[in-house]
C-alpha cells in the first residue's frame, strides 16, 4: 500500500488568482478508495512505449539556442530515497525570451529557431537524468492581474506504479517572482515548496549547474503487491 500524502505538501486544488482552477477542480470531496493490484501495478518498462527524444536542447555552434547555458541534473528517487532506474522523464520549458514552442502560446515574445523545448529522458541506474539546455525566461500570464510566471521547467515522471505518476514544475533559486507565483505557492508547506526549487551548484564548467531531486510515491519493492 502507498501511504497517503500530507495535503500540506501538495498543491491546493482551487487557487486565488488562477481563474481556471475555479472552473476545473472538482467541487465534491475526492473519494477515498482501496488500493488493489490495479492501482499498485503500473506501466513497467514504459520506455518501450515512450522512446527517449533529445537529451540536449541547447545545441552547439551556429545552432546554439539563445540564453544562459545550463545543465540540469535531476535525480528520481522513491520515498525511501532509493533511485528509480528506468524512470521516464518528460521535460519541457519555454525559451530564454519566455516563449513556448506550443502553437497555443500567444505571448508576444520571439521564437528561437535553434530552440525546441521538449525532451524525453530515461533515468540511469542512479535515477539520474541530465539535460543540457538554456535557462527559460519569465513570461506574463494572459488575462491575469500582473501575474508573471517565474522561470520554471515542467517535469512529467513515471515511477514504479500507476499511483506514482508525478507532473510538476522545477523552479530556479533566487528568483523574485518565485515568492509571488500562484502555482508554486499553492503548496502551503514552506519546506515542501522549497524542495521544488533547484539547487545551484558552483562549478568551473562553462554552463551553470542545477541539481534537483524528484521524489515519486512508493517505497522500493514494497510499492509492488508481490
Amino acid at each position: 500500500m502507498l501511504p497517503r500524502r500530507n495535503p500540506a505538501t501538495q498543491s491546493e486544488g482551487v487557487v486565488q488568482g488562477y481563474a481556471q482552477t475555479f472552473q476545473r477542480w472538482p467541487s465534491q470531496p475526492l473519494v477515498k478508495r482501496p488500493q488493489t493490484r490495479s492501482e499498485l501495478t503500473g506501466p513497467s518498462d514504459i520506455a518501450r512505449r515512450l522512446a527517449p527524444v533529445r537529451g540536449d536542447l541547447a545545441g552547439h555552434g551556429a545552432k546554439r539556442a539563445l540564453g544562459q547555458l545550463i545543465h540540469i541534473r535531476a535525480r528520481v528517487v522513491d520515498e525511501d530515497g532509493a533511485p528509480v532506474p528506468g524512470a521516464v522523464v518528460e521535460v519541457w520549458h519555454c525559451n530564454a525570451a519566455g516563449k513556448y514552442i506550443h502553437p497555443n502560446d500567444a505571448n508576444d515574445a520571439p521564437a528561437d529557431p535553434n530552440f525546441y523545448g521538449a525532451a524525453r529522458l530515461v533515468a540511469g541506474d542512479s535515477g539520474l537524468v541530465e539535460l543540457r539546455t538554456v535557462k527559460p525566461g519569465a513570461y506574463p500570464v494572459p488575462d491575469s492581474a500582473g501575474w508573471w510566471r517565474p522561470p520554471h521547467v515542467h517535469f512529467s515522471v513515471w515511477g514504479r506504479v500507476w499511483l506514482s505518476r508525478l507532473v510538476t514544475q522545477m523552479f530556479f533559486p533566487g528568483e523574485p517572482l518565485n515568492e509571488r507565483d500562484a502555482i508554486l505557492n499553492a503548496i502551503r508547506d514552506p519546506q515542501a515548496r522549497a524542495r521544488c526549487v533547484a539547487r545551484f551548484v558552483p562549478s568551473s564548467a562553462n554552463f551553470l549547474v542545477y541539481d534537483y531531486q524528484i521524489v515519486v510515491r512508493g517505497r522500493g519493492a514494497a510499492a509492488r503487491l508481490e
Binding site: L2, Q10, S11, W25, P26, A118, A186
Partner: protein
C-alpha cells in the same frame, strides 16, 4: 529514510503536442481480446469543452491480468477543440474481486494536481466502485453502442464525475 513525495503542479497549457500524440491505440498488434473504442467529452464548470487536456489510462488485459507481455495496458490521448478524446483498446477482464474497469488520470492547465477516476463497463460489485456514494456510481459506468463505449467526464458542476483521492 523517509522522503516526502514532490508536490504535484499543473501541466500548464503548453504540454508538447508530440508527447500527447501517438499513444492512444493499445490494441494495435494485440491478438487476444475484444477490440473496443472508448471515447468521451470533457467539460468544465461553465459547460465548455476542454481542449488539450491529457488523459492517461491503465488497464488489465482481456483476462484481468496486469503482467501480460503481449499487451501494454497503458495509453495516452489528448482532447481536441471539442473536448473529445478517443482510445482504441482491448476490453479488460475482471480478476481478484475487481470488475472490469479502466483507470483514468487527467492532466490539464488549471488542474493543480492530476485527477484520478475509473470507468466501468457495467454496474457491478467492485471495491473501488463501492467506495463511491451509491447515487453517483452510474456516472462511472460507460454508455455503449456496439463496440464503442462512451465515458464523458465533467470536472466540476452539475453531473460532476466522482474522482479519487489516493
Amino acid at each position: 529514510m523517509s522522503l516526502v513525495p514532490t508536490g504535484e503542479m499543473t501541466l500548464g497549457p503548453f504540454f508538447p503536442r508530440e508527447f500527447a500524440q501517438g499513444a492512444n491505440d493499445l490494441a494495435a498488434g494485440v491478438k487476444q481480446g475484444e477490440v473496443i473504442e472508448i471515447t468521451g467529452r470533457i467539460t468544465q464548470l461553465d459547460g465548455r469543452p476542454l481542449d488539450n487536456l491529457v488523459l492517461e489510462i491503465w488497464q488489465a488485459d482481456s483476462e484481468g491480468r496486469f503482467d501480460n507481455a503481449n499487451f501494454f495496458g497503458w495509453g495516452r490521448a489528448a482532447t481536441d477543440a471539442n473536448g473529445v478524446y478517443r482510445f482504441r483498446t482491448i476490453k479488460p477482464g475482471g480478476l481478484e474481486g475487481r470488475a472490469p474497469h479502466v483507470n483514468f488520470l487527467l492532466l490539464c492547465s488549471g488542474l493543480m494536481r492530476h485527477l484520478q477516476t475509473a470507468m466501468f463497463f457495467a454496474a457491478a460489485e467492485d471495491p473501488v466502485l463501492d467506495a463511491v456514494p451509491a447515487e453517483l456510481r452510474p456516472r462511472l459506468v460507460a454508455g455503449r453502442e456496439g463496440t464503442v463505449y462512451r465515458f464523458d467526464i465533467r470536472l466540476r458542476g452539475d453531473g460532476e464525475t466522482p474522482f479519487f483521492d489516493d
